[in-house]
């Protein structure tokens, strides 16, 4: 395991407290058992586990049932694997699955970064991963800095139960909404002025809602910034497999490795199979941290959000099929790019400009010219018109905390080509009507 330097970046009270309870006899006994488990044949002198209220006395009944109903035993677990699977609730996660996740993440980055399976903590979705990290890195009342525009779900996922606040880092269209050092400084100073402690910066790369991959240059600046301020960096890379040209994606992991893992224990990556593999229902997320204490705390805390063992087993099998994953990643990227080009072309024909994008399942379109007034209210009035007249649900930039009015996120990957054509037609008609109204 690659070790980072001894951590000086502080963790939250929740993370460092003993309330995880694992120092108690209750857990110490389990550990002793795990290290030396009794087996009648192979380890008769081992520890017998009587501290775990698990019922194995009736397993044969379930196995018999599955024997008689072969369909239910599908999903790569089979009857012989069923018992193991059904009982497995280790918060370390299935070793094989973690191994495959690490390899898959390397594949996406085309070997430009390496991932150690021991640093992967599995969670039931990236939503849970983001919340977990927030609990671990920040105390109630502290804040995370997040560049705008950002995924509306963060307001809920990162704040609801944690009591942590979000301070936006404002980005502008003048440079394609890229994060600047100035914007970072401004946000940091603002937090200081409000007497709020900044614990970390959360980046989404590629960006949601922008649909752009962050450049190497910006990532380097960001890493320098967080190091200088002695705060954490969370890089949400759930769309990393959805960058149209794989070489246009630079993961923070690459930068960390290029820097020889110096000062990397402030860096944490969030991943998920919901976007890249299109499996949101499976609830598979992961935290990858270079910080041992964070890995330990996250692992314990993942008890609240474990991935079903059956799902882990099945996906381990799927991800191990290298031919499948190679082909999948390549084909998926092509299809996304084609879809992206199709919609941006269509929007252009309707007189709408989009931010040049190279990733993700959406594009960021500019309807500012249509606004009666360049305000949030103006934008929402326009949004309401689009929803009710054109009957299209698109997401207004204000719900993503965009500081400029008139931008909208439009998703294109969740429908058929035909439906997309219908949508584009509706947009075109809508634009025509708007133009006619404006000319009056």
């Amino acid at each position: 395991m690659v070790k980072g330097a001894e951590s000086c970046v502080p963790l939250s009270e929740v993370a460092t407290s003993n309330t995880h309870g694992e120092d108690s006899a209750y857990f110490a006994g389990w550990k002793a058992y795990d290290e030396d488990p009794y087996d009648a044949a192979s380890n008769p002198a081992g520890v017998i586990q009587m501290g775990l209220a698990e019922n194995q006395v009736s397993f044969d009944l379930l196995e018999k049932y599955l024997d008689q109903h072969p369909g239910a035993s599908g999903w790569g677990c089979g009857i012989s694997g069923f018992r193991e699977n059904a009982l497995f609730q280790d918060y370390h996660g299935l070793q094989t699955f973690r191994q495959e996740m690490a390899t898959f993440m390397e594949q996406i980055r085309e070997g430009r970064a390496t991932f150690d399976p021991e640093r992967i903590v599995l969670t039931a979705g990236a939503t849970a991963a983001n919340e977990l990290l927030t609990f671990i890195l920040a105390d109630p009342g502290d804040c995370l800095l997040i560049p705008t525009p950002y995924y509306p779900g963060f307001d809920r996922d990162l704040r609801w139960r944690t009591g942590v606040r979000i301070i936006p880092v404002h980005c502008s269209s003048s440079n394609g909404f890229q994060v600047t050092l100035q914007a970072l400084e401004d946000a940091y100073v603002k937090a200081e002025g409000m007497k709020i402690r900044v614990r970390g910066l959360l980046l989404t790369n590629p960006s949601n809602p922008l649909g752009t991959a962050i450049t190497r240059h910006v990532l380097e600046e960001v890493l320098d910034f967080v190091t200088q301020k002695d705060i954490h960096l969370i890089s949400d890379e759930i769309y990393s497999g959805s960058v149209f040209s794989s070489d246009e994606f630079v993961s923070v992991a690459e930068i960390v490795e290029a820097r020889g893992y110096k000062d990397c224990d402030r860096v944490h990556i969030v991943y998920s199979l919901s976007k890249d593999l299109g499996l949101p229902g499976f609830r598979v997320g992961a935290i990858y941290s270079y910080n041992d204490r964070v890995v330990t705390a996250a692992r314990r805390m993942s008890s609240f959000t474990l991935v079903s063992s059956q799902t882990q087993r099945m996906l381990a099998s799927m991800l191990a099929d290298r031919e499948f994953t190679e082909n999948y990643l390549k084909t998926n990227r092509e299809r996304l790019k084609n879809r992206h080009d199709f919609i941006t072309e269509g929007l252009k024909n309707a007189g709408i400009e989009c931010l040049p994008g190279n990733a993700g399942l959406f594009c960021w379109m500019n309807l500012a010219p249509l606004l009666e007034e360049p305000t949030k209210e103006g934008e929402l009035r326009l949004w309401s018109l689009i929803v009710h007249e054109a009957k299209l649900n698109i997401s207004p930039g204000s719900s993503c905390h965009c500081s400029e009015a008139g931008w909208f996120r439009v998703c294109f990957a969740n429908m058929s080509q035909q439906t997309l054509e219908v949508a584009l037609r509706r947009i075109k008609d809508f634009m025509k009507n708007m133009k006619a109204k404006q000319e009056k």
């Binding site: 009587m50 799902t311 649900n393 429908m415």
Partner: protein, 497 residues
Amino acid sequence: MRVIVPLQAVVQGRGGLVLGSLIPCALFYFLQLYIRRDRPSSSASNLPELAPMPRSLSRSLLSPRGSSGPVRLSSRGASVARDDDNPYYVGLKRCAEDPYHHSSNPNGFMQLGLAENWLSLDMIRDWLVGNVKEPLLLDEEGELSIHGLATYQPYDGLMDLKMAVAEFMGQVMQGSVSFHPSQIVLTAGATPAVETLSFCLADPGNAFLVPSPYYPGWDRDIKWRTGIELIPVPCRSTDNFSISIAALELAYNQAKKRGVKVCAVLVSNPSNPVGNLIDRETLYDLLDFVMEKNIHLISDEVFAGSTYGNDRFVSVAEVLDSENFDRRRVHIIYGLSKDLCVPGFRVGVIYSYNENVLAAASKLARFSSISTPTQCLLISILSNTKFITEYLKVNKEQLCDMHALFVDGLKQLGINCASSSGGFYCWADMSMFIQSYNEKGELKLWDKLLNEAKINVTPGSSCHCIEPGWFRCCFTTLTKQDIPIVMERIHRITESN
């Protein structure tokens, strides 16, 4: 509530009280006694005989119908339960209510606000078909649709699974009560179920009263991230560790004196770690208690289907059905890890009668949702009610046999167990083998059992048991052949003590 404090003194016969507090005390006794009068007698009663009072009157004295007020959600819970007026979510909702379909609803809303990728699902489907036998997620046309591979599903579980779980719970409770799927929130295990429920009911610094000994996991599951305090309310071996309302009352007032707000009483039934059942009488008392204090009652019933004694398990749901209690303060925790033996699949249940709690909990479920293929597998297994009935029956028989063998084995070593009718363990009294009658002595014995005899049992102190020397011994991961070996190892330690 100065009234109640002298009560304790009266019970203990210390007397010497101001008249002004004697009368309310007496009233309180009348109430307690009258409530007990209409129910099957309880062995736990220790109040003096007094004349009865009409029950509805006493009810109106303490908790007038309708005006005890809606029981409070935490401020966190309340803010989560409120509807989101952020256009991001409003748009998603509108679309879901009237979705576009090329033939059946061409004028419907088109969803461009949802970042999901359907473009390459065909490849996933092909892989599944090629590699996995009879996948459950394909519909008749071989499409990955209905059950949620293709899209996000409700975070609090597929309706089909909620229905199957409601049905299962009914079977577990042996038909004495029926459960409604609309009152269920599914989570990835009972661990997040109890934490999520706690977030909804209490704010940081608030407390739950928990009869002890209790399940050690709660110290982590409930206290860790929520900032809620757990106040152990000791039960005694003299009455087989039954819940005492008087003790709850005392603990409530002590908390109040400290300025700590108690929001709920949390019980497990069947009890973990003791294994006894809460009788009907005590359930009524608990409900009266929480009503009087205007707090919640959480009943963790994860072992409800794993009973084996002569006593019948009575869920708090059954009592609610038969009486006119304010249900909005009652919540049940359940799951499939114990009764169906599938802890790896992560299926927990919050069952609540409170729509605000359900609203908040179903939103919070996003942090701990169950994987859809697992939900599908379980729908399939649980729907086979004939199998489930047979399974529950045989499981109980097997638990009963193991329990009897184990308790007997311990008895032969001179170790008695608390009387238990449920769970996977027995609650054994090894106090005669500890050198000093305190926690230190108990842990010394635990250490010997673990490191010398190589047996992992759970010491009572981890469960906040007030009497040293009790140990929880689980027997359900053993085979019958293992039992003599276990006994022999325990004997090695106990004979040297």
